[in-house]
Each structure stands twice: as C-alpha cells, then as structure tokens.
C-alpha cells in the first residue's frame, strides 16, 4: 500500500541563472536550472534570490 504522503510532489524552485551565495561558513554555488530546494539552500537566502531575480 502506498503512503499518500509520498504521492505529494514537492514544488520545484528552479534557478533562472547562475548565482553564488557565500556567507560565513555557508556556500551555495547555484547553476541555472538547479532546484533550490534540492540544493537545500536555506530559506533566509530566498529574499536575496528573489531580489537577484534567480527565482
């Protein structure tokens, strides 16, 4: 029996272009087409990614 929870597909957030996040010990080298969620980019950077027109 399949768990219904597994059937819920996560939304993808795809990067529109390359962008590098470097902050203290955190570093995320985002490439165009990358899934931000899959890369586990913390939500605190989402505002930046929107401002930079990455997502």
């Amino acid at each position: 029996m399949t768990d219904k929870k597994d059937e819920v597909k996560k939304d993808n957030i795809v990067a529109k272009k390359d962008f590098l996040i470097v902050q203290n010990s955190e570093r995320y080298d985002i490439k165009e087409g990358d899934d931000i969620i899959e890369l586990k980019v913390p939500k605190k950077f989402y505002a930046n990614l929107k401002t930079e027109n990455i997502i």
Binding site: L20, K44, A47, N48, E52
Partner: protein
C-alpha cells in the same frame, strides 16, 4: 682669581613647548637632531661722498629664528605646527573598527544594505591595520578591498586576490540583520533590517585597527584648525662637568609639518620657527645656565 671654565653648549637634550597663557607644557621631544637659534641682524651703513668706507653704521632689524630638526612626531607637534590636536584613543584590547560610511552612492550603508561593521567576536586577533572599500557587485553581494597588506600577517595570514587589492575570494552575501564575516580579517558586516537591495557599483569605506595599546588620529587641513603660538624651552645636553643650559623662547610662531616616508630611514624633518617679543616678560628669550656642583 683664575679664569672661569669656558661657557659651552654641547648637544641637545630636549625641546619642550608650552602654552603661552597657562604656561602648561604641551609635551616634550627628545629625539632631536638639532635646534639652532639664529639671530641675524642687519647693519645699515651710511655711505656718501668719496669715502670708500661708511661714515657710520647703525643696526637694523634682527630676525630671531629657530631651525628645528626632529626625528619623532610627538602629539604636540601637530597642534603647534598644523593647528590641529591629535585625538588620542585608549588601548583597544579587541581591536576596533572605524564606522562604515558611504563613499559612492548611498545604497551600501543603508537599512537595505549594510547596517554596521564591527569586530567579530572571537576573531579579534585577526583584525588588521588597513582601510577597506566595500563595493556592491549585485543587489545583495559585496566585494571587499584593502588599502595595504602591511599587516596581513597579523593573526591569520592573508593575501590579495587580485591587482585591485580585493581581499574576498568570492562576493559576500548580505542578508537581512545577519552578520557576515570578511574571512580572516576579524571584521563582520551586518545586514540592514530591510530587504537587501544595493546598487551595483556603489561603495562604502571603513578602517580597522588591530589589538593595540594606543592609537592616534588627526585630520589636517580642516576648517576647524586653530594655530596658536607657543613657548619653547630648548635644553642642551648635560655636560660631564655638570654644566647645563636652557633657553626659554617666550613666543614662537611656526607653521607646516613635513612628514617623510623614506626607504629604510627614520623620518627626519626640519621646521623653521620665528621668535617674537613677549611684552609681559619683556623679551624674546631667556637663557639660563648653571655649573652644578652635585
């Protein structure tokens, strides 16, 4: 009675300026190359007729000048010669950062940019002596540049990243109300409270000082400069026979302060000052000397 000992002056011990009004000392200087008082008078001859020689000679003006050659930069010299007192900072056991200010544009230091810069707790030993430029390279990232690598070996060693003196290998990401360290410089930039949105190309500047026991700063050439004349006590070296001489110049006017950075040499500089009459004490200087016996 036999002839007395020769009255000589040997060497220079110190130069001590004082406030003419209060007579309080402004400090002293002992790393002195020379301090020479020239007192040149003009002689005015009366010539006339067929005489090859003057009929009379009378004295004209006498100019009293002091030529100082100094080899240190005491605090008082700035107040006396360029009209601006030095600001003396207390010891900084954790280093310090001089506040960040916008240079080009207004978006870097802002509630939507960088709110402040400070020493990163725990990384105080990495703070270096340099000036910095923070440049927005996108709406939310900055590159940082340093004015000199003079102190880059202090704490964690650093090197420049390029010929334009960049010190950040990658642009630093500024996020709202979050501190971002400039790696290995002991300094962190804290994002403003708003949504970060800087203008690419805008810049801001700040400087940092490493852990220290003292530091000074002075801005020369500002509109708030005040030139005050001063008194000056010049003291010759104490001779082996205990003969000592001091010259108290009552009123001295001087202006200008050369500062020399010369390869492998201590800065040595010369200043010329003029003496003028103190009507209260009725003179331009007083010489005092003593043959001590003990």
């Amino acid at each position: 009675m036999p002839l007395s000992q020769p009255k000589t002056i040997f060497g220079i011990h110190s130069v001590t300026p004082y406030n003419i009004t209060t007579r309080e000392f402004l400090g002293t200087t002992q790393v002195v190359g020379s301090c020479e008082l020239s007192s040149e008078g003009e002689l005015i001859p009366l010539n006339g007729g067929s005489s090859k020689y003057p009929w009379k000679v009378e004295r004209g003006l006498i100019t009293a000048e002091i030529s100082l050659t100094l080899k240190e930069y005491p605090n008082w010299i700035f107040e006396a010669l360029v009209g601006k007192a030095i600001t003396e900072n207390s010891a900084e056991s954790g280093g310090s950062v001089v506040a960040i200010a916008n240079a080009n544009g207004t978006s870097v230091v802002a509630s939507t940019g960088i709110a402040s810069v400070g020493v990163k707790s725990g990384d105080e030993t990495d703070v270096k002596f340099a000036g910095f430029v923070v440049k927005a390279v996108s709406a939310t990232t900055v590159d940082v540049y340093a004015s000199t690598n003079l102190d880059f070996a202090n704490g964690t060693d650093k090197t420049f990243e390029d010929d334009l003196l960049k010190i950040t290998a990658s642009p630093l990401t500024i996020t709202t109300s979050t501190a971002v360290e400039i790696p290995d410089f002991g300094v962190e930039l804290t994002g403003g409270a708003g949504t970060i949105a800087m203008t690419s190309g805008d810049t801001a500047v700040f400087s940092s000082r490493p852990i220290n026991t003292e530091s000074q700063e002075v801005v020369v050439g500002s509109s708030t400069e005040v030139f005050n004349d001063f008194g000056l006590i010049i003291t010759g070296q104490r001779a082996g026979d205990k003969f000592m001489t001091a010259l108290d110049c009552y009123k001295v006017a001087a202006a200008g302060l050369p500062i020399n950075f010369t390869e492998n040499a201590f800065s040595e500089y010369s200043v010329t000052a003029q003496l003028y009459r103190d009507t209260t004490r009725d003179g331009i200087y007083k010489m005092e000397r003593v043959q001590a016996t003990n």
